[in-house]
């Protein structure tokens, strides 16, 4: 599928016009091709899942969109225009996977730093802390947090940011089943309140539960874009789950 075709077919979805378009993004690491002409569109207010196995290129794609990795080709369009690299952060915030930043800082200071940098009111910070249950660890150092609370802190930072688009890499990693469901509810709530989310997820069951649409990635290529129903129609598997659809398309 070429870049323009992918976007074209994507635009036929009920969400047009697109908030952001990824057009023909290509990235190589030496001889290795990480992304090969990736194209898709992100619609306002949706939760879009980047689905693929480990090594599919999900993280590289998110970092390329956020401007944290230089690309060899392609463009990122916001409402049809291409913002310069320093301006992308005005539209989107990317939450990388597996971060444990500023380990010697206290949790409350990290949260307050983010809120102060963006000039966010205390009510929003308190909402994020409340939604993610961070209150018991506010006086702990980041380095002393359990894996689960570390993930919650990162999600809280993302919720505090004001950008209309949130990119999250494996947001449900490190949570047990019950916690995952709670975090999914928080994510859905964020989308309901008007923000758009792009989530890189390798657990297909999680993705099926939380995402409105999917971009299926394998070997750095887009193998399918659409809602589960649209993907089922493409594979002629009327009652298949995302797992079966993904296996059929990749």
């Amino acid at each position: 599928m070429t870049g323009s075709t992918a976007i074209q077919s994507d635009r036929t979805a009920a969400y047009a016009p697109a908030l952001m378009e990824v057009s023909g993004v290509t990235k190589r690491y030496g001889e290795q091709r990480a992304l090969a002409g990736i194209s898709f569109a992100v619609n306002p207010g949706e939760v879009l899942g980047l689905i693929g196995p480990n090594g599919a290129g999900k993280t590289t794609l998110l970092e390329a969109i956020a401007g944290l990795v230089p690309v060899d080709g392609g463009r990122i369009l916001w409402r049809g225009t291409s913002p310069a690299l320093p301006h992308r952060r005005e539209f989107m915030f990317y939450l990388p996977d597996g971060l444990r930043p500023w380990e010697d800082e206290y949790v409350t200071r990290v949260v307050e730093f983010f809120a102060a940098a963006y000039g966010r009111p205390a009510s929003i910070t308190a909402d994020a802390i409340g939604a993610l249950g961070l209150a018991p660890v506010l006086r702990k150092r980041v380095g002393a947090l359990s894996k689960g609370y570390g993930r919650r802190l990162m999600l809280a930072l993302a919720l505090i940011t004001p950008q209309p688009l949130l990119l999250m890499d494996e947001p449900f990693d490190g949570f047990d089943l019950r916690q995952t469901r709670e975090i999914m509810a928080v994510v859905r709530d964020v989308a309901r309140n008007g923000r758009t989310l792009v989530l890189a997820i390798h657990q297909l069951i999680d993705a099926e539960r939380v995402c409105d649409r999917f971009v299926l990635l394998a070997d750095g290529r887009v193998r399918g874009v659409g809602t589960l129903a649209e993907l089922r129609a493409r594979t002629a598997m009327a009652s298949a789950g995302l797992e079966e659809v993904f296996l059929a398309l990749t």
């Binding site: 500023w102 307050e112 730093f113 940098a117 249950g133 709670e182």
Partner: protein
């Protein structure tokens, strides 16, 4: 490009960023370790300096003429601050690297770069934090100066402030190099190796190449420690100031160029080349600024005021041809007592070493070896003296001017002091380290949580 969808994050307040950067440096062990190491280093240097100064002062009591040679700048301040120099050279890079290295290692940098701060702002904040760390590192040396004053020691503020300025510039230069090393390295360990290669490499340049003729001598001037020499001599040189500031800004700018991982390598290289070219241009300009201000109380870098005025009136070019090897002690004397002062006093002086490439041993059979020829306004004369008392009359004779009468009341009296500095050691070995440990402990106390943050922040 602006869009109604964009978050209003164009002008983020600076104080949260500055506070974070300062906390980042204070929360690391590197700063506290350096402080604890600095206490005995500075304390021992200061104690030794006071002891030796006291012995020299005791001798000066019996021979008052010796007192004029006793300057607290040379006797106490420079050796005491020498300990700070050692610590800044060897330990300060670790403190400065922490301001960025940990963020790169933990991935925090990827969050930081998305915050509404421009990359130069981030680097400026980190440099401010490094400056703050240097101020903290100054505490032991500053306490030594206070103790010196309490002991009854004399302090001449302009020369002391000039020395502190020199150490500040050296500290910021080392900090900027460390920051640059951290920005191009993936780990703090690699950054430390790069930064130490600069600082320790400077020592090697000093030891191996200083005093060597020709290109080697020029190469030795690239040593970072050369930054301090002029300030230790009590000179404030606008050219040096400009050059060091350009180097600091250059390394900081290079750090900014290499900080953002999203910028393509080709763009980084191009920007780096532009940055290096700009700094080189400023450095070239700085070398053309030859004026300097002698801030010492004893005016050691200048001839007596009457001679300074008379020499300033010699408008023709003066050519000095020296037949001495650079490593010859007589050349060192001549350079310090006469040539350096002539360069400051006369508008147009050229100095030529006629023995380039020769050593003292190789030149000993040459009868002309040791001669210094002075050419002015078509006339020339030779001398083997390294003393201004003989050379200045020679120059006045060449210029056809009378020797100015010596001024009165401008003799430096000297400040001998026999003080008992034994009690200073417990301060540096116990008292100050104890205060530092208490400050470290206090800095690690958990903060208060603002009530409005936990109103809704219950359990998940």
């Amino acid at each position: 490009m602006r869009s109604p969808d964009a978050a209003i994050v164009q002008r983020a307040p600076l104080h949260p960023l500055l506070a974070k950067e300062l906390r980042e440096i204070v929360s690391g062990r590197a700063l506290w370790t350096m402080l604890l190491i600095l206490c005995p280093l500075v304390g021992y240097s200061f104690w030794q300096a006071v002891l030796l100064y006291g012995e020299a002062s005791a001798a000066a009591r019996d021979a008052p003429v010796l007192a004029s040679g006793l300057s607290p700048l040379d006797g106490v301040l420079v050796p005491t601050f020498g300990a700070l120099y050692v610590a800044v050279t060897l330990l300060f890079p670790f403190v400065a690297i922490r301001s960025l290295g940990r963020e790169k290692e933990t991935g925090a940098l990827r969050l930081l770069l998305q915050l509404p701060y421009r990359v130069p702002t981030l680097i400026a904040a980190k440099m401010t934090a490094i400056f703050g760390a240097w101020l903290v590192a100054l505490i032991p040396a500053a306490s030594a100066v206070v103790i010196w004053a309490m002991l009854g020691g004399h302090l001449y503020v302009p020369e002391a402030a000039n020395l502190v300025l020199g150490h500040l510039l050296y500290g910021l230069l080392v900090g900027a190099i460390a920051l640059f090393a951290a920005s191009i390295s993936e780990s703090s360990a690699t950054a430390a190796i790069i930064a130490l290669a600069f600082t320790i490499g400077s020592w090697v340049l000093d030891f191996a190449l200083a005093g060597q003729p020709g290109a080697l001598e020029w190469f030795s001037r690239l040593s970072l420690t050369q930054t301090l020499r002029t300030f230790e001599q009590g000179l404030l040189s606008p050219g040096l100031l400009l050059g060091v500031m350009a180097a600091i800004c250059g390394f900081a700018a290079l750090s900014a160029v290499w900080l953002h991982p999203g910028v393509p390598p080709r763009t980084r290289f191009m920007r780096s080349i532009a940055c290096v070219a700009a700094v080189a241009a400023v450095l070239a300009l700085a070398t053309q600024v030859r004026t300097s201000v002698d801030l010492t109380e004893d005016r050691r870098n200048s001839f007596p005021a009457a001679d300074q005025r008379a020499l300033a009136g010699l408008r023709e070019p003066l050519l000095v041809t020296v037949r001495l090897a650079p490593e010859d002690p007589r050349y060192v004397d001549l350079r310090r007592n006469v040539l350096a002062k002539l360069e400051r006093a006369l508008p147009d002086v050229s100095i030529r070493l006629a023995t380039s490439g020769q050593s003292v041993v190789g030149s000993s059979s040459d009868e002309a070896y040791g001669e210094i020829e002075y050419s002015y306004a078509g006339r020339a004369d030779k001398s083997r003296s390294t003393s201004p008392r003989e050379i200045l009359p020679l120059l006045y004779a060449l210029a056809g001017k009378p020797t100015p009468p010596p001024g009165t009341g401008e003799e430096y009296p000297g400040y001998p002091l026999v003080a008992d500095g034994r009690w200073t050691l417990p301060w540096f070995l116990v008292g100050l380290p104890l205060l530092i440990v208490i400050a470290w402990w206090r800095s690690r106390r958990p903060p208060q949580i603002p009530a409005q943050l936990i109103n809704k922040g219950g359990q998940a």
